[in-house]
Symmetry: C2
Subunit: 656 residues, 2 copies
């Protein structure tokens, strides 16, 4: 659709389809999260995570590296002074800049916290490190004598360029700032001069990222060359130019892929770019590939938390239905990447299931990645930690960590949280769609008129969502669409005080078409009760187990709540009902779920843990005589695990 | 015990306790496997695997590297000419030499196959590459300008020295050859001069191996310094000298360890050395640690195949009861190392359970590592390969491979197979013990008199073992001890034609004390039927599943035997009996097991594979209406998998 509107601002968040893009939905023109669950998490992000960023980037050496590169362009630098083990150290800086940029333009922005000045200082540092021809990567500038593009498979030069460009787009779109955009444009022009079928280098980066960034730069500048370059990078993959590995997304062209494969974050960043390209070009084949791959990924390779990635080794997806618990990889960055891909698909297609996955990922696999106090992080997000877990440490530890040697995840969390309000609502020619339920004020446009809706809710603790029309054109019908979440089995709807019989009419949406007036209100009541959930039987890792869900939240057991026995021998007795209770003082305020449980009476194995299955196979019959008094199981939201103690945890609980 | 005997030869296999060692059992003085199952596997090893070794070592560059080092000692070599990615390339050569050495002295030796000459040529090459002061490591000599011991954590210099010394001991013990022993002694003397608390370097190698080798060199030469140096290397571990990582066996001193941890092969080589030291020094604390760690390892971290290692990442043990199927690591080298450790413990303590684990490992986790034709290898030995498995390739592939970039496993298999006959029988002051059942002729000693027993059996296909006393001192009672395997639930014994009531009297042994005469025979009938086996309920990965065993063999299903549906959705119906059948033409001759099965009827999940557990949790109730006609399941021995087709495989089969 073509849609220009002089009276309303342009959407100010990530993913702003270009003027000629063909998408089912458009981003809201304004969005403000003002209270409730996500407001609290964004406050921690704004006041703890983002302000600490520069200190952490300084102590990890990222900023020092930029200063070395800046010095190098005039006076030379000693390679031994470089800090960090990876050629993508710069990207942490850019991701922090992007996070800060969304923050500056968003509902959490404050004039007096010095963030704008900090951002300007860092932009100046980045600009100083850039080579005259636009190139910038401190690893290659400082430690490789400026030799470029010799190792596209591992060098991450275009990956870093992508994050720089994305940060620049965020800064410009969010604040109007032009300095970083100028750096990004110089870099993009350099890439456009170097890379191409008949240019210096016919190739692409082992790690996708520059592709989405170039599409966003095209949207921000209107410069078509950037879109074409992104398309070129996507098209060249899968022909073996980088060695043909799935790890580098080079085994098969994306349009021909049958399932997601290889390095998870690389696959998802590539698919986000494919969705961006499909949006801007209208290419049906690429759109079909995106829909096919999203669907098969979710149906066969997604943990119940929305987490993705089964292998620590190569950070790989693993096989269909290979969804281990204690060795789930579920990198925090993969959750961010999944949300990026899904939001593009939501806008492209208008299908609510994409926002279903976003909701599940946000509340579970993503949010677990940062501690409640904003001080510690998880790189991997397992679904089980055994009693007495012997952690080998390092980035891939199941323990929350202050910062990582490979610190990709923390600033990824920061940039998603600071831009989160842009994922809540969309708009189209018929009205406004509410994808996520978060207290705030959201503005769409209807042919140049503002549609303003406010939302009040205690979601996810309560399923009651009250929406009020604050402003809209008079005397003209339009449709307010509410997503009925995938987890919901029962809902009630009250429109302007009257119970409504509206049902889910289209692709997961509850569509309310009326001639609305300011002050009209709608209450959606999603019945919310704790539910045991089972997996497809092909998920071998959880045979005979259930997970507990309540609303959009996946729950887990923690060792700290189950003294006297740990979690390795625990089971759940589903003949008793699950109950829930609000604890305002626990874990920043949560609803806990309790269930009847038991402990397995273990056979005396002696030295050998396997024995003839005479009679009953463990896991197939419920123990009738608990060894000890049966414990009550207490489940807490998965996102909040490991905030009290580093101990045992499990999402999937044996039923027998 | 002290035991010198002028009339009988000294034991000629690996692990020959020294003259003052205190062990419950001693190795047999002679051992010959002459027929049956292991004879066939050893024939393949002797005629295919070992003869191909030099060609493979040539094409992988290992021999070239030795020539470069040899040239370097006189005329200089170009570092760029070095081949291979690892500082332990030399160890592949030494392990092949050890394999060939045992072969030369064993029952498969032939005078006309040129093996002795090939060994001599390779020994000459090794000797030429050795530095004048005894040092030898081609990686450091050729690519590092001869700089030594700068990276003990990763350098593998002492690890390679250990394999060289072990090969030299094998060559001397097996053939009397002195040339390689001289090289080894020079290297050992160099190490003894450099390493020590008050010498040049106070440290040890990140990868244990030199420790067992030095003990064996002490045993071969009588030079006490080598034993002391081995003890020093073991004692220094666990104090953080190499950084304190479990990976390098440096987190905690072995005497204080509570469970096995870190890199599996490193842990097991270290424990083999600890057992060697306990044998030679009689130290009770070290023996207790070995017994404790063996027991907890087997009870909590051992796959049903005897395989060890749950993590691809860091080749780590993982947590207790963390025993995944598709991502089981179970490195072939770990199976070899486990056998080395267990055999030392068997001799030290006389407890039959150590040989129980050896049997299980030999027939399953170890033997799967080499194809039936001896041409292809497995580095990792998973317990499940899914339908349509997407293999990322490389050394850690679940596909059999001609050779590896890191080729540690193939020559490890070769050296174990060529020395296998020495693991069959032991002797003590009371008589002779039969640990494994393999057709052949085995000689123990009783105060200088030979005890010769021959064995005839079709084991593991049949449980009938016929033993005949071929020679023994007249008129003097002695004890023939037969191991009753851990898997056995029913056996009959016939002694000299009479049914015997002998029961298992001591630590897993059936002890028959008589005044034996040549010609006396004993028949042990171990009832052998296919049995479904279940795991401790804490092994989450196999909840609700059984594995099939028959005798010492673990079975698996392969996709090739189950057309029309794959293995991901298959189950076993245990209400029908398991049956077995001998197939002489299948997989070099195997007994297959058949069972009634079913296929799961999958829910139509749509795009989301999890759903409310209303009613039944998958895995807890047997499907009552099979989707298709229920298939018959055909199981083949696990060791023989992937010899017909690279396809799906599973050991653990859902029962519901």
């Amino acid at each position: 659709m073509s849609h220009s509107n002089p009276t309303l601002p342009a959407p100010a968040g990530p993913v702003r389809p270009g003027p000629t893009a063909r998408t089912a939905l458009r981003p809201a023109v304004a969005a403000r999260i003002l209270g409730g669950f996500w407001h609290r998490r964004r406050e921690v992000n704004a006041h703890i995570c983002i302000p600490q960023g520069p200190l952490l980037l300084e102590s990890a050496g990222n900023l020092r590296n930029l200063r070395l590169a800046a010095a190098g362009t005039t006076g030379g630098a000693d390679p031994a002074d470089f800090r960090g083990d990876y050629p993508f150290m710069d990207s942490d800086v850019y991701k922090w800049l992007e996070a800060a940029a969304w923050q500056l333009g968003g509902s959490g922005a404050r004039a007096d916290d010095g963030l704008a000045e900090e951002v300007d200082r860092m932009i100046a540092l980045v600009a100083a490190a850039q080579e005259p021809d636009g190139y910038l990567n401190t690893w290659f500038q400082v430690t490789k004598g400026g030799r470029r593009y010799g190792d596209l498979r591992w060098g991450h030069e275009l990956y870093c360029a992508g994050h720089l460009i994305q940060a620049a787009v965020a800064h410009h779109r969010s604040t109007g700032g032009k300095d970083l955009l100028a750096v990004a444009v110089r870099f993009a022009d350099h890439l456009d001069a170097v890379f191409g079928p008949d240019k210096q280098i016919d190739g692409f980066d082992g790690h996708p990222e520059v592709e989405t960034a170039l599409v966003e730069l095209y949207r921000e500048t209107g410069e078509r060359r950037y879109l074409d370059l992104a398309g070129y990078f996507v098209d060249r993959r899968g022909h073996g130019l980088l060695g043909g590995e799935a790890y580098c997304q080079d085994r098969v062209p994306v349009r021909q892929q049958a399932n997601v494969e290889g390095h998870v974050v690389r696959q998802l960043y590539l698919l986000a770019a494919a969705a961006d390209l499909a949006a801007e070009t209208g290419e049906a084949e690429l759109l079909a590939a995106c829909e096919r791959l999203w669907t098969v990924m979710v149906a066969t390779k997604t943990h119940i938390t929305g987490g993705l990635g089964a292998h620590h080794d190569e950070e790989d997806f693993g096989d269909p239905f290979e969804l281990p618990n204690e060795r789930a990889y579920c990198e925090t960055c993969a959750a961010v990447a999944s949300i990026h891909f899904s939001w593009r698909m939501a806008l492209l297609t208008g299908d609510a299931r994409y926002s279903d996955l976003i909701e599940r990922t946000l509340f579970n696999g993503f949010l677990a990645g940062v501690s409640l106090d904003g001080e510690r992080w998880l790189y991997v997000n397992p679904l089980q930690v055994r009693d007495g877990h012997n952690d080998i440490g390092g980035d891939q530890s199941a323990r929350r960590t202050r910062w990582f040697r490979c610190a990709c995840c923390p600033p990824n969390v920061m940039r998603l949280l600071s831009s989160l309000e842009h994922y809540i609502v969309s708009t189209d020619d018929a009205g406004l769609q509410v994808h996520q339920y978060a207290t705030g004020r959201y503005t769409g446009d209807l042919d140049g008129d503002a549609l303003v809706v406010s939302v009040h809710t205690d979601y996810p603790w309560s399923g009651t969502v009250r929406l009020t029309v604050e402003d809209c054109p008079a005397g003209r019908p339009w449709t307010l669409s509410l997503r009925v979440p995938q987890w919901s089995t029962d809902h009630k709807l009250t429109v302007a005080g009257q119970q409504s019989e509206a049902t889910v009419t289209h692709a997961g949406w509850l569509c309310l078409e009326r001639t609305w007036s300011p002050g009209d209100s709608v209450t959606l009541d999603l019945a919310m009760a704790p539910v045991p959930v089972a997996a497809d039987p092909r998920v071998d890792a959880v045979r005979g187990c259930v997970a507990i869900e309540r609303g959009p939240l996946v729950y887990c057991l923690e060792g700290i709540d189950h003294p006297g026995g740990g979690l390795d021998d625990i089971g759940i007795d589903l003949s008793e009902p699950l109950t829930d209770e609000h604890h305002p003082d626990l874990l920043d305020g949560v609803v806990t779920v309790t269930a009847a449980g038991y402990r397995h009476a273990f056979p005396n194995n002696g030295w050998w843990p396997y024995r003839a299955a005479t009679g009953t196979v463990p896991g197939t019959a419920r123990p009738t005589k608990p060894r000890d008094s049966p414990p009550t199981l207490t489940a807490v939201p998965y996102y909040a695990w490991a905030n009290r103690q580093d101990g045992a945890m499990r999402v999937w609980i044996p039923t027998r």
